[in-house]
Each structure stands twice: as structure tokens, then as C-alpha cells.
């Protein structure tokens, strides 16, 4: 059905925000090519007019409830796992570069 090539892998790394070493790239390319061609066997199944299964529970209905104020995490608790924070805010490296014209 489709041919998985190295450009696909480069694009996927970008989309997934995962940097890979050269050795990893080689390994993932081999593994993904094999798995993708295995998945192609689904094309044997006739699915014209078959609805996609979006949710599996037959009994599930939309549940409504009153909007009530409950307990939420405090800011300090939330920030306790952040790798870097200052003044009650999460700290990240520079996002927008300043240029001196």
C-alpha cells in the first residue's frame, strides 16, 4: 500500500519532537518499515460503508451534572513537579530571540 522511506522517518521525528541518534534512526527505520508493511494486511478486509469504531462502550451515555466548585490542586502543589519555576510560574528557556538591529 505504502512505502515507508527515510524521509518519512525524518518527518515523524520532527512531528513527534523526538531527536534520534544515527544508530537509533537506523533501528527505528528497520522496525517501522516492517511493522508498517505488516499493518498493510488490513487492506484485505472489505470495509466499504463500515462505520469507524470511535467508542467501544455500548452502554455509555452522556452524563450531565451540576457544575460545582470542588477541590483543585494548589499552585504550589502543581509546580512541585516542574523542572524549573520561579515566582509561581514555570520557567522555560528563551522562546523569542531578541535581535539588535
Amino acid at each position: 500500500m505504502s512505502h515507508f522511506d527515510e524521509n518519512d522517518l525524518i518527518k515523524l521525528m520532527k512531528l513527534s519532537r523526538i531527536d534520534c541518534s544515527a544508530e537509533e534512526k537506523q533501528r527505528f527505520f528497520k522496525a517501522l518499515s516492517r511493522v508498517v508493511s505488516y499493518m498493510d494486511q488490513m487492506s484485505e478486509v472489505e470495509t466499504t460503508g463500515v462505520a469507524p469504531c470511535n467508542h467501544i462502550l455500548e452502554t455509555m451515555t452522556n452524563v450531565m451534572r451540576e457544575d460545582e466548585v470542588g477541590q483543585t490542586l494548589s499552585r504550589d502543589t502543581f509546580l512541585s513537579n516542574s523542572p524549573s519555576h520561579v515566582g509561581g510560574m514555570i520557567k522555560v528557556p528563551t522562546i523569542i530571540k531578541t535581535t539588535n538591529s
Binding site: 500500500m1 523526538i18 505488516y38 488490513m42
Partner: protein, 490 residues
Amino acid sequence: MHKLSAIELKDLFVKGEISAEQIAKHTLNRIEKYDADVGSFLDIHADKMLRKAKELDAKKKSGQKVGSMAAIPVAIKDNINIKDTITTCASKFLTNYKAVFDASVCKFLEEEDALIIGKTNLDEFAMGSSTENSAFKKTKNPWNLTCTPGGSSGGSAAAVAARLCPLSLGSDTGGSIRQPAAFTGIVGFKPTYGRVSRYGLVAFASSLDQIGPFSTTVADTALIMQTISKSCPYDSTNIHQDAPDYLSCLQTASLKGKKIGVPWHFLEKLSEESKNNFNQAVEVFKSLGADIVNIDLDILKYSIAVYYVLATAEASANLARFDGIRYGVRSQKATNLEEVYEFSRQEGFGPEVKNRILLGTYVLSSGFKDAYYKKAQQVRTLMVQKFKEAFSMCSLVLMPTSPIPAFTIGEIQDPLQMYLQDIYTIAANLIGAPAISVPSGFNKNNMPLGIQIIGPQLHDKEVLCAAHSYEQATGHGKIIPSYFDNEVSK
């Protein structure tokens, strides 16, 4: 004491023949003696467990009513949150992540006075079938320490199989409870999708994930299911119906006149050894009065392809939250925001997790989404229909749990080959059905084998009853691996 089931332990405690503190100490002693061999635990909350045990003893002494899980030690897979303790998901990414809330299942267990021991090993983010993908260590199979215990809930399975504790919780996305249960000779149950709240379980594939127990008897599974099947407002897929009294139901369990479906044609490729074992189990069902009927589930040959499209697609979305910003380990090399994402994920995730994120991103990407993701959803619909047809002819389906017994550590290197091991377990996740693995004997190398009973959605009770009848007639699960069958004195 290690030979006792959870129910037997609780009964001794309730009768006053043993204290919760004695049970807690016994458990911690066994873990100290044996876990270096098995490697089932990642973190042991000894102080917390002993404190809870002492509180429970005082509660009982004061005449207060104790909970339904009183003094029963329970181990928790390390992708389920326990407040103020580390939840790693066996990933380097989360080595420093301290849970800020309790998973509902842990809250329910605490409320019923269970003794939570600590966290067990798993394949990183529950992605794997052998627990070899843990970033921290490899868990061993108590029946042969050179073999894997299966996965991804291998730590929870091995802990119960080695009788370090009578009960544990795992999570099952494509067989991660049932396959390790079969590999280690114990009971493993994946409830109906939504039956058990997943609030506090780190999400892998949200349309498939379900929390469930490991135990040495079906009755113990029924007991813990009653505790953890409570309605939960924090999980939108939770079934808001009270669970029946599973334990009482077992007492009247009977297979007499029950129609049990077997997909004989789909099982044709089973190895001779596994086929013989399965056929023996079928004979037991017949001898208990069940009527075996042939059903057509040939569509399941596509289940691995469908599963690995859907599970990886969902995983790629679920794991996008690991960005090195709000929690987890941030790369020290990163100098800008893009690098925070890319380097943190590069350094934090192991190879199988990266592989699955990349695959999931591929099947969702523009140009391929219809050919893979949508196609897989359509084939999933057809599988649901085929099972509906099957369940119109029978009340339960019987299959082996795994095509092979436990394999040696390092034996399966190819990811696709590893995925193919899930051929019999995936279907229950794809159709949201309850399914149990029960010990069905041993192969010529004395490694355990398991059979699997699948029921229609919300027929968890019927599945447990059938498993109980089979267990009572056979008793394979009573056998303890000899290396661990010693009383620990201290």
C-alpha cells in the same frame, strides 16, 4: 503464611489470630529475602505500610468495623499514582515525578483497609510484553529466573507468583495483565472497559486501557474487584453502575448447560504443546457440563495490525504531554524551547516508547490517516460485530492466553515478533470485553500455561464464575514455584 490467599489472610486477621502488623512484617520480610532474585518491586513503601497496619490493629482493637480488604497486602503497578510517592512508569523521564493525587483504585483500597506495599516494575509506559523495556531493571519469572514474567505488568505478576503478596494491580491495554498471569501461573483479570476507574492511571491507549488484578485464586480477584469497581466521577469512561457481589456469585457458579464458544479455525496455528494443553482445558469444561460450540472469529487474524495502529496512535497523542516543561526530567543540554522538547524526549524515553510514538504519529499523519487509523477503526467495528454474532451462539468464549509459554530474557529482539505474542489477548481490549487468564497446567519444562475466558461487556460476573468452576476442578494455580515455597522467619 505465604501459602494463604488474600481471603484466608483477612479471615485470620478478622478472627484475631494474626495482627495486621504481623502480616505487614511477613510481607516485607519475604520481599527482602526474595525480591533481589525476582526484581518485581521498584519502590517499597515500608514505613507507610507498617504505619497503616498499626492503625488498623488499633482500629480493630477499639471495636470499629474493619474494611473488606482489611490487612491484605496489595502491590501496585508503577503507572498508577499513590499520592506523595514516585510514579515512574519505569521510564527515565519520570524518575523524579511525585504523584500529587491518589488514583481512585488506591483510594478505594485504602478505604477498605488494604495494606499497600509499593510499586512494581513494568515495561516503560506499559509498552511491551516481557517487562524487558523497563528503564530500571528486568523482572524475572519465578518459575525460571532466566525467563521473562511476560508484560507489561510483569512486576505485579511476579510478586504474586513468588508469593511476595497475595494481590496486585496491573493495567491491561492489549494483554498486559492476562499474558503475565499465564506466564507466571496465576490468575489475571481484565475487567470490562470502564468497569474500573482509570483516574490516576498514566494513560497509554485510552480506548483500550483498563486496570485489573492479579491473584492466586479467582475468589481473591472477585474480592478486590468488588472494592475497585466503584463509581468514580473523575473518569468519564467509568461505568456508573454498582458492581454485583462477585464473591457471593462464585458460590453458586456452575457451567452446567453453559454454551462455551471456541474459535477452532482461528486456533489452528497453535503449537502442538499449547494445543494439547488447551484441548485438556476444553475437556474439563465439557466434564463440568458445558456445551462447547464452534464459533467463527477468523477476523482476529487482523487484530495485531488493528491494535498496533490504534494503540500507537493513541499513545502518540497521550505521550505528547511529556514535554519536559511541567513535570519529568528536562534535558540539561536544551538552550531553547524546541530543544527542551526534543532533547528531553530523546533522553527520557526508551527505544520501544520512541518506536511506538513514531509509529502512532505515522498512522495519524496526513496522507496515511485513512489507510491506517480509519481503516483500523473500521476493522474494529467488524470485530465487535463478529463477537456479537459469536455471543448470540454462546455465553462465553474460550481461548489460550498466549501462543507460547514464558520465553527467555533477550530471546525476542524484533519488535514485530514481540507484538505477535499478543494475538489471543488483544481482542478483548478491542471489543471492551471482560477476560480472565486462569492457570491451565504446565509444559514439559515445568513452565505454566493459561487459558482465557472472554465474556460480553459487563458480564464480568459470568467470566469470574466460569473461571472459578474451572479452577475448582483443576487446581493448577495452587502450585507454588519451589524456590519461593519456604516460610521466611525473622
